[in-house]
């Protein structure tokens, strides 16, 4: 026993020394860092013995789910973790050999924003709302360089120009709320680069942004890294982003690194059960017959009560007795390899990774073709009036959130509505359910004309049409128990019979234990709450359920659990889904048909495989090409269409084709063809290849964007 432990617990230090001898000194190095928080509920070990390093011009990705300690370790490097409550039992942070943690606050401050800069997840909240963007950047310059106000302001304008903000001189004088999300993140990057830092810490830099904007921002970071040779530490949960942008990866779980190696090593031959679990729970957009997702069971542990031994063992498929007792240390895969893992069963993980997975339910069920649709949406319009005037408020215009869409959904199938934020997809979903009163158009559900129902009839009809919301934290009443939330459905809508076993059966159906019924929402994790949200939606056996971004607020490993549940419920109860999403990987996995929306209109509508394999509309092509695929081999050869600019204001859409202002194809057209896009609005027409594939573009045509 002692011998075994000894061989396995080779110190991380020794390993690092053995493996890094030949590659020159690292720029930034973290050694055996521990960050603990002393709280009333015990010691929270947010970071518990983490070592990594990054060299000039290199991108290291730190990957993990929420609560894995990835952000805390970055904040520690900047000296921004307040102590108390934090304590640092062990660890060093070395920037070119200088130890950061032992420096005085004043010395640390000189490095912050100067040699090490950071960009954050949410650019809306990360910029101070009361100061002009230019001033905030100039302040960064002036705090580390002795330059005058005018010179700093000029530098700020130059930087804004460099990160691709059009008309930077005028933009510098604006406030953050006058910028779009993507522009705000560009401004954050401009600020971070103001003093030419050697290291850039990017904490989920694109998580709050649309994929099209994500592609712009990542491209910008790559370009800036090339010209300045900056080292980037990319902290993210998004394996797709990592596959295309990282040189090396460190996977974190419960405050420790469980596997590290080059991007290719991690994706092609994962050796830790958690890494493997993450990869197999990911939906992939480029797989023709999507594989069944294999979610990781359970949820990430609380950092104040980390399981003994390997922290992952309660959720692990390969768990044995040893995993429960000894904490496995990082060891190289082969002697001298820089692919290191902390797993007791690397061989079994390798074997599982090599085994093909069974296809998803969706991939084997036959398509429902030529069945009369259960949901028919015709010429649906939802405009929000804009009012103005001193005493009498007149309508002076309208935000054309949804501007005439037609959709048919066949029974038992899933139609996904995708597009960037602001394209009107959520408004459309709400208007279909009459949660927003539509401006015009009709919605038929079975034999009902939903848009013509009187209020009392509409309430009755709600039995048949339900919704699951995006944010499981905000959509459950915190003062009601799960039982009250679920039984309320029966009392309010009067349908169905509420017996003693109804609630426990319902909870069982969504994979929750019946004993949870009398608990309150705050006692549940995000994934469990979303299960409650789903139980509430299916309680009265509806025909039609709108799923409004049901997994986008959840961790990767939890997303797969919920997607599998939704698929199972559809198969068991013949539910018809309208799935609202921005994540195309998830859409490819779960849909039968996909509608792509842009500025209130549908631009392309097709069966799933048709849409992903043979997209016809330039917007669909750009959207698909912007989604990173979690496979470095594929990413290396893929072409990315980077759309410029942001979605135009829906109160004042462009004439003719609404997409033309951002269209890559429009730029390649001859003058008379361009005029056509500007003057004539394209209609949604059937393509030559399939009558189930419609597209609204004068110059529609295939372009391979999925695999390269």
């Amino acid at each position: 026993m002692t011998d075994m432990t000894k061989t396995r617990t080779v110190g991380q230090e020794d390993v690092l020394r053995a493996t890094n001898g030949d590659r020159g000194a690292p720029l930034l190095e973290v050694r055996d860092l521990r960050v603990h928080f002393e709280t009333g509920g015990g010691i929270v070990k947010a970071v518990d013995g983490v070592s990594w390093q990054v060299r000039e011009g290199e991108t290291l990705a730190i990957v993990g789910e929420s609560g894995s300690g990835k952000s805390v370790s970055a904040m520690t490097i900047l000296g921004l973790v307040p102590s108390p409550p934090a304590v640092f039992p062990t660890g060093q942070v070395l920037l070119r050999g200088k130890s950061l943690l032992e420096m005085s606050e004043k010395q640390q401050r000189k490095l912050r924003g100067n040699e090490i800069a950071m960009i954050f997840q949410d650019p809306l909240t990360a910029l101070n709302p009361v100061f002009k963007v230019g001033d905030q950047i100039a302040e960064m310059v002036r705090s580390h360089q002795s330059v005058g106000r005018a010179a700093a302001n000029k530098k700020a304008v130059d930087l804004l120009g460099e990160v691709g903000i059009p008309n930077p001189r005028a933009r510098a004088l604006q406030y953050p709320h006058e910028y779009s999300g993507g522009m705000r993140q560009r401004a954050m990057i401009a600020m971070a680069l103001a003093n030419d830092p050697q290291v850039l810490l990017a904490d989920e830099p694109t998580t709050a942004l649309d994929v099209t904007v994500q592609a712009q921002i990542m491209q910008l970071l790559v370009d800036l890294q090339e010209s300045r040779n900056t080292a980037i530490v990319l902290i993210t949960h998004d394996l797709g982003l990592v596959a295309s942008h990282a040189d090396r990866i460190a996977v974190m779980y419960a405050g420790r690194i469980v596997e590290t190696g080059t991007t290719t090593q991690i994706f092609s031959s994962p050796r830790h059960a958690y890494t493997y679990g993450l990869l197999s729970s990911l939906a992939r957009m480029d797989h023709a017959r999507p594989e069944r997702l294999e979610p990781i069971q359970g949820q990430p542990p609380s950092l104040s009560n980390v399981p003994s031994g390997c922290a992952f063992h309660p959720r692990c498929a390969f768990v044995t007795e040893e995993c429960r007792t000894d904490v496995p240390q990082l060891i190289p895969l082969t002697v001298g390899s820089d692919h290191q893992h902390a797993c007791v069963h690397p061989d079994r993980v390798a074997e599982a990774h090599a085994t093909p997975r069974p296809p998803a339910l969706k991939a084997v069920t036959p398509a429902h073709v030529d069945v009369p649709p259960v949901v028919e949406v015709a010429r649906l319009v939802k405009h929000f009036p804009i009012k103005s005037g001193v005493f009498i408020r007149r309508t002076v215009g309208a935000v054309q959130a949804v501007d005439g869409i037609d959709l048919d959904i066949e029974p038992g199938t899933t139609l996904s509505l995708v597009g960037e934020s602001g394209c009107g997809k959520s408004t459309a979903a709400r208007a279909i359910l009459r949660l927003h009163e539509p401006t015009s158009g009709t919605v038929r559900l079975g034999e009902h004309d939903v848009t013509a129902l009187k209020p009392a009839e509409l309430r009755k009809a709600r039995e048949d049409m339900q919704i699951v919301f995006q944010d499981p934290y905000a959509s459950l009443n915190p003062r009601m128990t799960i039982r009250q939330i679920l039984s309320e459905k029966y009392e309010l809508l009067g349908g169905g019979k509420l017996t003693d076993t109804t609630i426990s059966d319902l909870l069982d159906t969504v994979g929750l234990s019946a004993e949870y019924a009398d608990r309150y929402p705050h006692e549940f994790s995000g994934g469990q709450r979303q299960r409650v949200g789903i139980a509430r939606a299916i309680a009265l056996n509806p025909k039609f359920v709108v799923l409004d971004e049901p997994v986008s607020a959840l961790d990767v490993s939890i997303q797969a659990q919920i997607l599998n549940l939704l698929e199972k419920l559809q198969a068991d109860f013949g539910l018809t889904y309208l799935f609202i999403a921005h994540d195309l990987s998830v859409v490819r996995h779960i849909s039968d048909r996909v509608a792509v929306m842009y500025l209130g209109r549908i631009v392309e509508l097709a069966d799933r495989d048709d849409l992903f394999e043979r997209p016809q509309h330039p917007y669909t092509q750009a959207l698909i090409s912007a989604v990173p695929i979690p496979d470095p081999e594929v990413e290396r050869v893929r072409e990315r269409i980077v759309l410029t600019g942001d979605v135009p204001n829906p109160a004042n859409p462009p004439s003719g084709c609404r997409f033309r202002t951002r269209c890559w194809k429009h730029l390649e057209l001859s003058e008379p063809d361009k005029r056509r896009c500007i003057d004539i609005e394209p209609t949604l027409d059937v393509t030559r290849e399939s009558r189930r594939h419609t597209v609204a573009c004068h110059f529609a045509g295939e372009r391979q964007v999925l695999r390269g």
């Binding site: 924003g113 990360a126 100061f131």
Partner: protein, 310 residues
């Protein structure tokens, strides 16, 4: 901005008309101001002559309309006691009240904002606990108690004038203003300290403060520049409304210190059933609050560029 002020002015007009109507009804409910002088009954003939002189023999709606008509020509009527135009009484007392209100608000902001910032920045420290305990105590004690304690201990001491006041003795303005200002400021400062502490704590948790620190700014700049302006936004509202209230006259405090402001004027007018003075002071108070809240809204838009005046 112009449109905004125009709309607010129209709203203010409605408020003033409503307020005057209410005061008019209240005055009517008080009963006949000329029936008696102190304990003595006034002979009915004289009382009737007085009523006729002041137009009180007219039907109430007509009285109201007459008053409103005069109001728009700047005529606030004549008071029942000294037969002086009410406008003169206001001109005498308003500057005193304005002085008191401003001194009180300066003390209030100085103590409240400073204590709030210290408590938030040094959260859970001795200073924070002290601020919390003292402010709870101060909020719990009614202003008049603080007023009476100050009168009992400090009036007549050093430069502070003795209460009850002798109005034949002129004193420098700052000696008579300090004690009542302090009495008024204490409770308000306690509120401001708590508001400031909460608001500052919330701002300190925000992402842009993290950004400011990540820029390498000194803690002094992080707090004094990035956090202060954001956390002042809710405090400004409170201070604005509070100043409006003080300008309208601190009736009890001015009464206790016999401070020659509009509050004390109203205090005496209510005692003497002096309807024209009561109505005029109420209109003035309403106006003060309306104007101050307009200023607060404009200041708001200045402090937070996301807010547009509309």
């Amino acid at each position: 901005m112009g449109k905004f002020i125009l709309r607010r002015a129209a709203q203010a007009l409605l408020v003033i008309i409503g307020a005057t109507l209410l005061v008019f009804l209240a005055n009517f409910a008080f009963g006949d101001p000329f029936g008696s002088t102190g304990d003595r009954q006034v002979p009915p003939a004289i009382a009737a002559a007085n009523r006729a002189a002041f137009g009180l023999d007219q039907p109430l709606p007509l009285q109201y309309l007459t008053y409103m008509g005069n109001l728009f020509t700047g005529d606030l009527g004549v008071d029942y006691n000294q037969n002086r135009p009410v406008i003169e009484l206001l001109i005498e007392t308003v500057p005193n009240t304005a002085r008191l209100a401003l001194v009180a608000i300066v003390i209030d902001i100085f103590i409240g904002v400073t204590a709030g910032i210290i408590a938030a920045v040094k959260r859970y420290s001795f200073a924070d606990v002290l601020v919390t305990v003292v402010s709870t105590l101060a909020i719990g004690i009614p202003t008049f108690v603080i007023g009476f304690v100050l009168v009992a201990t400090l009036s007549g001491v050093g430069p502070f004038p003795t209460v009850p006041r002798s109005f034949t003795v002129e004193v420098p303005w700052y000696t008579e203003v300090l004690l009542p200002a302090f009495a008024l400021a204490i409770v308000d400062a306690a509120f401001v300290a708590r508001l400031m502490r909460g608001s500052m704590l919330e701002v300190l948790r925000s992402d842009y403060i993290r950004t400011a620190r990540a820029k390498g700014l000194s803690e002094r700049k992080v707090i004094g520049k990035h956090a202060l302006r954001n956390s002042m936004i809710p405090v400004i509202t409170y201070i604005g409304v509070s100043l409006g209230g003080l300008l309208g006259g601190a009736i009890i405090t001015e009464g206790i210190f016999q401070y020659p402001g509009v509050g004390y004027l109203l205090f005496r007018a209510i005692g003497g059933n002096n309807a024209p003075v009561i109505t005029a002071v109420v209109i003035f108070s309403v106006l003060a609050i309306v104007v101050l809240s307009l200023i607060v809204d404009i200041l708001y838009a200045y402090l937070d560029p996301r807010i547009r005046l509309s």
